[in-house]
C-alpha cells in the first residue's frame, strides 16, 4: 500500500520539478539571448559615431530608458568614466560575451549596487563602452518560478501521496480479496465469491469472470460428487442382490441344474451391472463431444425406417401397434449409430411406459429448416415436474421399476452432441429430437 502511494507521489514530484526546470531554463535562456542582441547593437551603433555625438546618443538612450533597467557608461582606455550612469568598470571584463557582475549605479536613487548582465566593447577611438541590463526582471521571473514550484508542489505532493495511498489501499484490498478467496478454494470451500459492484470497473469485470468460472467449477464438482454417489448407490443395490442370490444358490443347490440356474441368474445380474457401467462411460464420452470428428451425412428417413423395423417384432409381441410416418428430408450431419440408438431408447421408453396394447408412433417431419423425429405413445407422458429430471443420470420415474435410469440421459447426450434439442410435448406423451439447430 505504501509502495503504491510512494511511487505515485514520487512520479508526480519528479514531473513537477522537471516541468519547472524546463520553464526556468527556457525563460532564462531567451532573456539572455535578447539582452546580448541589444548589447551587440549598442556597440555597433555607438562605435560608428564621432566621440561628441556618441556621448549625446548615450544620453539620449538613457533618457529613453523609462524602465530604468539599462546601464550605459563610456570609459577612457584606463577605465575613467567619461559619461554614463555607472560609477566604474566592474572588476572583470571580457570580449564579445556578456557577463553578470555587480555595478554601482549613479542615477538610481537609494541604490548603490545592482546586479546586471553586462558587456564591454571597445570604440573606434580607443574608449570603452559598458552596456548592461538590470537583472531584476530575470530574478523576478526566477522567484516566480520558485514560488510557484513551492506552492504548486507541496499541495501536489500531498495530493499525490493521498491518491497513491487510496489507490494503493484499493488495489491491496482487491488483491487481498482474491488471495483470501483462492486460499479458501484451496482449502476446499467453493462457496465463496468475489464482491462485484453495480457498475464494475475492469477489475470488477475480472472478478465477475472469476465468479462465473467458480460457478461452473462448483456445478461440475457437485455433478462429479453426485455421479460418484449415484454410481456407488446404483451398483450397491444389485451387488447386494447378486451376493444374496449366489450365497443362497451355493447353499441350496443340490444338483448341477439348480447350480447352473443360480450361475445364469448371477451372470444376468452382472451383465446388467456392466451395462450400467458401459452406459455411464458412453454418456460421459458423448458429453466430451469427442465423437463429432466422425460425423457424416445421415439419411434420417432410412434411420427412422430401420428403427421401426428393428423394434417391430418386439412391439408385435407386446401387442403394441408401431406406426412409422416418414417425410423425406435432406441428410443431416451426424453419427448414424448414435442417432438410431437415441431413437431406439425413445421407442423402448414409449413401449415401456405407454399403455399396454396401445400405439407408438415414430415420425420424421420437417419444421422450418430443422428435422423433427418424434416418438409418441397414448400414455400421459412424462409428468411436467419430472421433465427436467428425466435426462439426469439415474433418474427413474415413479413407475419405472426396471432399468438404470440412464436411457434418457444418453438420449440427451446424443442430442447435445449433434446440436439437437430434446423436446417434450406440452400435452400427452411425445418426445422429439429437433435439429440440427441453425447455430451449429
Amino acid at each position: 500500500m505504501w509502495r503504491w502511494g510512494g511511487a505515485i507521489a514520487a512520479l508526480l514530484v519528479i514531473q513537477s520539478i522537471a516541468l519547472a526546470a524546463l520553464f526556468w531554463l527556457l525563460a532564462n535562456g531567451s532573456h539572455q539571448r535578447e539582452a546580448e542582441r541589444g548589447f551587440a547593437q549598442d556597440c555597433r551603433e555607438l562605435s560608428s559615431l564621432a566621440p561628441a555625438v556618441r556621448r549625446a546618443e548615450l544620453r539620449e538612450m538613457l533618457a529613453h530608458d523609462i524602465h530604468r533597467d539599462r546601464f550605459l557608461g563610456l570609459f577612457t582606455r584606463d577605465g575613467r568614466l567619461i559619461d554614463g550612469n555607472v560609477a566604474r568598470l566592474p572588476g572583470r571584463t571580457s570580449g564579445t560575451r556578456s557577463f553578470v557582475a555587480t555595478v554601482q549605479p549613479t542615477e538610481l536613487p537609494g541604490k548603490t549596487s545592482d546586479v546586471a548582465r553586462l558587456r564591454l566593447c571597445g570604440m573606434s577611438d580607443g574608449t570603452q563602452l559598458l552596456t548592461g541590463l538590470d537583472l531584476d526582471d530575470a530574478e523576478e521571473a526566477l522567484r516566480v518560478v520558485e514560488r510557484s514550484l513551492i506552492f504548486g508542489l507541496i499541495p501536489g505532493l500531498l495530493l499525490a501521496i493521498g491518491f497513491g495511498l487510496v489507490a494503493g489501499r484499493r488495489a491491496a484490498t482487491q488483491v487481498d480479496a482474491v488471495r483470501g478467496l483462492t486460499a479458501r478454494i484451496v482449502a476446499g470451500d467453493l462457496e465463496g465469491r468475489l464482491p462485484v459492484g453495480d457498475r464494475p470497473d475492469s477489475f470488477g469485470l475480472l472478478c465477475a469472470h472469476i465468479n462465473a468460472m467458480l460457478d461452473r467449477i462448483q456445478s461440475l464438482v457437485v455433478d462429479v460428487r453426485g455421479v460418484g454417489d449415484d454410481i456407488a448407490h446404483q451398483l450397491r443395490t444389485p451387488l447386494t442382490r447378486l451376493r444374496a442370490r449366489l450365497e443362497r444358490g451355493l447353499r441350496e443347490a443340490d444338483d448341477i441344474n439348480s447350480f447352473q440356474t443360480t450361475a445364469d441368474a448371477g451372470l444376468e445380474e452382472i451383465d446388467q451391472l456392466l451395462g450400467i457401467v458401459a452406459a455411464l462411460l458412453r454418456v460421459r464420452e458423448l458429453e466430451d463431444h469427442a465423437r463429432r470428428s466422425r460425423f457424416a451425412p445421415v439419411d434420417l428417413a432410412k434411420l427412422v425406417e430401420d428403427a421401426c423395423e428393428l423394434h417391430r417384432p418386439t412391439a408385435e409381441d407386446r401387442g403394441i401397434e408401431l406406426i412409422c410416418v416418414i417425410e423425406p428430408i435432406e441428410p443431416v450431419e451426424g453419427d448414424a449409430s448414435l442417432l438410431i440408438e437415441a431413437m431406439s431408447n425413445l421407442i423402448d421408453n414409449a413401449m415401456k411406459f405407454g399403455p399396454p396394447r396401445g400405439r407408438v408412433t415414430l415420425s420424421l417431419a420437417r419444421e422450418g429448416a430443422s428435422a423433427v423425429v418424434t416418438v409418441a405413445d397414448d400414455g400421459p407422458g412424462v409428468p411436467l415436474a419430472e421433465r427436467s429430471l428425466v435426462t439426469q443420470r439415474f433418474y427413474r420415474g415413479r413407475h419405472d421399476c426396471e432399468g438404470a435410469g440412464l436411457g434418457l440421459s444418453l438420449v440427451k447426450a446424443i442430442a447435445d452432441l449433434h446440436g439437437f434439442t430434446l423436446r417434450f410435448a406440452e400435452q400427452g406423451s411425445a418426445v422429439s429430437l429437433i435439429g440440427p439447430n441453425s447455430k451449429d
Partner: protein
C-alpha cells in the same frame, strides 16, 4: 492347432481368456509386456493376436503398428477398458481387425476370434444350399427340406449371415453391426426377438435345431445335426 498370442497385463483376465480359448481348442501364449509380445509375434506360428491397449511398458496398438510396418498381416483383436467410441476407431485405424471394449462377455470374445480366424463364405452365389436349407437370395425365398419358411427380408438376411458362418458363434452385437449396419448396444432384446422369430420359422416343432442359442448372448448355425 491354431496359435493365439494374448498380450494382457491383468493376470486374472488373461487366465480366464486363456482357459476359455483353450476350451474352444486354441493354443494360447500369454505375455504381459509389449516387448515380450513383439518377440513372440515375430515368430511365424502366431495365427491371431489379442492385445490390451494399456500395458506396463507401452501402448498395445504399438505392437500392431510395428508388426504392420514389418509387413506382417497377423489378424489382431484389440481389447480396451478405455471409452468405447473413438477408441474403437483408433484401434481399427492402427491396424487392428476388430475391437472389443471391456467389460465383455467371453462368448463375445470367442465369437470375434472365430470370425477373425476364418473369413466367412463370401461367395457371390445367390443360391445357398446348406444341409436341409435352401436359400434363394434373389427371389427372397428360403425352404427347409422343401418346406417354405416364409421369411421376411430381414430374416432372410439374418439366415444368410448365419449360413455363411457354419459352426461359429454369432453374437447380437455382430448381427446388429453386420446385418443392420449399426454399432450400438440396444437397451432391449430387439435383436433376440428377430432371432426368435427366425428360429421358430427355421426350426419347426420336432425338427432338429439348426440354430442354437449360446449362453443367452449368441447363436450358432449348425448344419451337421
Amino acid at each position: 492347432m491354431t496359435h493365439i498370442l494374448l498380450i494382457e497385463d491383468d493376470a486374472g483376465t488373461a487366465n480366464e481368456i486363456a482357459l476359455e480359448l483353450a476350451g474352444h481348442g486354441y493354443a494360447v501364449t500369454h505375455r504381459v509386456l509389449v516387448s515380450e509380445g513383439l518377440a513372440v509375434a515375430r515368430g511365424d506360428d502366431v495365427d491371431l493376436l489379442i492385445l490390451d491397449r494399456q500395458l506396463p511398458d507401452g501402448e498395445g496398438l504399438d505392437v500392431i503398428e510395428r508388426l504392420r510396418a514389418e509387413g506382417r498381416r497377423t489378424p489382431a483383436l484389440v481389447l480396451s477398458a478405455l471409452g468405447s467410441l473413438d477408441d474403437r476407431v483408433r484401434g481399427l485405424r492402427a491396424g487392428g481387425d476388430d475391437y472389443l471394449a471391456k467389460p465383455f462377455a467371453l462368448v463375445e470374445l470367442v465369437a470375434r476370434v472365430q470370425a477373425l480366424l476364418r473369413r466367412p463364405n463370401e461367395t457371390r452365389d445367390t443360391r445357398l444350399i446348406v444341409g436341409p436349407l435352401d436359400l434363394d437370395l434373389l427371389a427372397g425365398i428360403g425352404t427347409r427340406a422343401g418346406r417354405a419358411l416364409d421369411l421376411l427380408p430381414r430374416e432372410l438376411k439374418l439366415l444368410d449371415y448365419l449360413v455363411r458362418r457354419p459352426g461359429r458363434i454369432v453374437t447380437r452385437s455382430m448381427l446388429l453391426q453386420d446385418v443392420w449396419g449399426y454399432t450400438f448396444e440396444p437397451n432391449s432384446n430387439v435383436v433376440d426377438v428377430h432371432m426368435g422369430r427366425l428360429r421358430r420359422k427355421v426350426d419347426a416343432d420336432g425338427e432338429p435345431q439348426l440354430i442354437r442359442n449360446v449362453r443367452g448372448r449368441g447363436y450358432v448355425f449348425d448344419p451337421s445335426v
